[in-house]
């Protein structure tokens, strides 16, 4: 929103290179689809081929448009904030790393313990330093998920030491 307050002269030029990330991902996936289905029956590839060729055409138009804008000087070919490691990105990557560890260890730790640790770690990374908040919120979240989804609704969430320990109590 603050962008509206910045004068037109001070406004940085749009990073057109960043606009190509999604098209490149989409084109990559489409080519993968078309190549890996080239030898299957027509019924299995008809839909993907129709959509894929349409998508590749749209991407080609977008690439041409971006090059035209760049040549007009309406933007740069940089990747904007994706091209540099900002403090925000560092925080984001740490958060994602914690979540990846959470997902990778959940089959052993179980949902309750995994939630407890990951909530604690995530809040710490995001700047919570009050120990009561860290422990209290992590515990309440893990306990609430256990009681509602595992004990009451009987959802088959990954079980670990806590779930095994409480099984005789809640079934």
């Amino acid at each position: 929103m603050s962008e509206h307050n910045i004068g037109a002269k001070d406004k940085p030029k749009p990073a057109l290179g960043a606009d190509l990330i999604i098209p490149v991902l989409a084109a990559g996936f489409t080519i993968y689809f078309l190549v890996t289905t080239s030898d299957v029956v027509w019924e299995a590839r008809a839909n993907g081929t129709v959509i894929g060729l349409t998508l590749l055409t749209l991407i080609a138009i977008q690439v041409v448009r971006i090059i035209a804008l760049w040549r007009e000087g309406a933007g740069t070919m940089s990747f904007g904030e994706f091209g540099r490691m900002t403090a925000g990105h560092q925080k984001r990557l740490t958060v994602l790393l914690i979540l990846v560890v959470f997902v990778a260890t959940i089959p052993w730790l179980g949902t309750t313990l995994g939630l407890l640790f990951s909530m604690f770690a995530l809040m710490w990374v995001l700047g919570v330093r009050d120990i009561k908040t860290l422990v209290g919120v992590s515990f309440v979240t893990a306990a609430a998920v256990y009681l509602l989804f595992i004990a009451f609704l009987k959802t088959q969430l990954p079980a670990g030491p806590i779930e095994h320990l409480l099984q005789p109590l809640f079934g």
């Binding site: 138009i61 994602l96 089959p107």
Partner: protein
């Protein structure tokens, strides 16, 4: 069977008498619908043993009240934290979240609740009156017409991302391509599954929804202190009853919008497989297309909340019409109800209206009563729910991330889906930052498998001849709507300019 006042009066009284089972259904549905990943059908499957031992009328009342409540409450996180509880509420994020950012979260919630309940109630009453006739609509839409319906959906993708139609189309087509992952419908050939067995069933919708909306939004949100900007904090803190009344007033002002979008949802709901997601997006787009102020959509405009919410609750009655009339469930939740009805020995189809009218019509009376109960249960809570936006993001973001990632597991019970939600979170983050609409990607993923299914069926009927897609009057009318939807945004400025030019000339 025609109108039977005595039967309908009896069913109304009986439905109110079933409040003991409907209130728990409503409360559970409100909770489940608000958490992405925990859908109505999954909850009903988990609670199947309970529904099987209940008397049939109580079981149906419980199931429909839970079903309707999930449709309503999916709008709560969509409005407050920009992440829909289900795909049906994805369109609500567009204007609902903008209202929250303006400090009008409470009003947005009230608009969501009132338009959902009124929309749901209107369509219940209409369904009761027109049930035998409505059942015929589903029969007119075969594979050929469904392809046209899907193409209409594709065009809407571009219209949703109206700031840059090309980006909208790329995002939508990318979503459609992702929707092609998995084995094909005829020969079971695996396609583009990257070697993962978990993708052979197709790309699961819940992790995609959670990643594109919840995870990506949380990744953006973590740099802010609170969801609402500082300028709107004071406004959000002062939760008043007058704000609730203000929301009701805004809804009443657009009563006509509620009515026609609810009927749109009803008709889309009757088509098996179409569902709330498509209905909400169609309603949003059509509401904007026919609005006098289309430029206000996307900026926190009340009709942008009313249209999708009213439509996705109109769908609830619609999905049950083919179930009752021809024994074909209109959606996955209706399929669970079918199991319960069959277990109880109820034979669905045209004879149901003669043999068991109390079941055929009773389900819609229960639905109407559950909407009335919901209105009184949830409306007073809007004042307190709106306070969620005041929780600091350093606590809210971890809560959202961990709970939704767990939610990604709950649907299919694969740890793989949790990883998939994170991957879609990164994709959604990049898409948001570069203005490739995540809703367009999502609607593409939703439409992809359906489009393929109907296209292949039509092509096989036509022995590979594409002209079969233009072989029926209904399909051609739908193709006409497709063309109209593409041209309308371009034609509207021209049409507006003309009267002004005429006025200027006459001056």
């Amino acid at each position: 069977m025609g109108w039977d006042t005595a039967l309908f009066l009896d069913l109304t009284i009986k439905s109110f008498a079933l409040s003991w089972v409907m209130i728990p259904g409503v409360l559970l549905g409100l909770l489940v619908g608000a958490i992405p990943g925990f859908s109505a059908q999954n909850t009903l499957i988990i609670l199947l043993p309970i529904t099987l031992i209940l008397p049939i009328d109580a079981a149906l009342a419980f199931m429909v009240s839970l079903y309707c409540a999930t449709h309503l409450s999916a709008g709560i996180p969509a409005i407050l934290v920009n992440m829909p509880g289900t795909g049906g509420a994805a369109a609500t994020t567009i204007d609902g979240y903008q209202m929250t950012l303006k400090g009008q979260g409470q009003q947005a919630l009230v608009i969501c609740f009132t338009s959902s309940t009124i929309g749901g109630l209107i369509t219940c009453i209409a369904t009761i009156a027109l049930l035998p006739f409505l059942a015929q609509i589903g029969l007119y839409l075969r594979s050929v017409e469904m392809v046209a319906v899907m193409v209409l959906g594709l065009v809407l993708i571009a219209a949703i991302a109206a700031d840059d139609i090309l980006k909208g189309l790329i995002a939508g087509a990318f979503g459609l391509m992702l929707g092609s992952i998995g084995t094909d419908h005829i020969y079971g050939t695996p396609r583009a599954a990257f070697g993962f067995l978990e993708l052979y069933d197709g790309l699961p919708l819940v992790p995609a929804l959670i990643g594109l909306f919840a995870v990506s939004e949380a990744l953006i949100m973590l740099e802010r202190e609170m969801i609402v900007p500082k300028s709107a904090v004071a406004e959000s803190k002062e939760a008043r009853w007058t704000d609730t009344l203000d929301g009701v007033r805004m809804t009443v002002k657009y009563w006509w919008q509620i009515t026609w979008t609810a009927f749109l949802g009803l008709f889309i709901g009757i088509v098996p497989g179409a569902g709330a997601s498509i209905a909400a997006f169609v309603a949003y787009q059509q509401s904007r297309a026919f609005s006098k102020t289309p430029e206000l959509y996307g900026t926190g405009f009340p009709p942008g909340v009313i249209a999708p919410e009213s439509a996705n609750n109109g769908v609830t009655a619609g999905t049950l019409v083919p179930l009752m009339a021809i024994g074909v469930p209109g959606g996955s939740t209706a399929a669970v109800m079918l199991v319960v009805l069959q277990y109880q020995g109820i034979i669905l189809g045209p004879r149901l209206f003669i043999d068991s009218p109390h079941i055929a019509y009773g389900i819609f009376f229960s639905m109407a009563v559950s909407y009335i109960l919901m209105m009184f249960t949830i409306l007073p809570l809007a004042r307190y729910m709106g306070q969620v936006v005041l929780i600091p993001t350093r606590i809210l973001v971890p809560l959202i991330l961990t709970l939704t990632v767990v939610g990604a597991f709950a649907n299919r019970e694969y740890v793989f889906d949790m990883g998939l939600a994170l991957a879609f979170g990164v994709l959604g983050y990049i898409a948001r930052k570069t203005n490739y609409h995540v809703t367009a990607i999502l609607i593409g993923i939703i439409l992809g498998p359906l489009f393929e299914q109907y296209l292949l069926r039509a092509l096989r009927i036509g022995q590979g001849d594409l002209t079969i897609l233009f072989s029926s009057v209904t399909a051609n009318v739908l193709w006409g709507l497709v063309v109209l939807s593409i041209l309308l945004p371009y034609l509207r400025p021209l049409l507006r300019r003309r009267p002004r030019a005429v006025a200027a000339t006459s001056d």
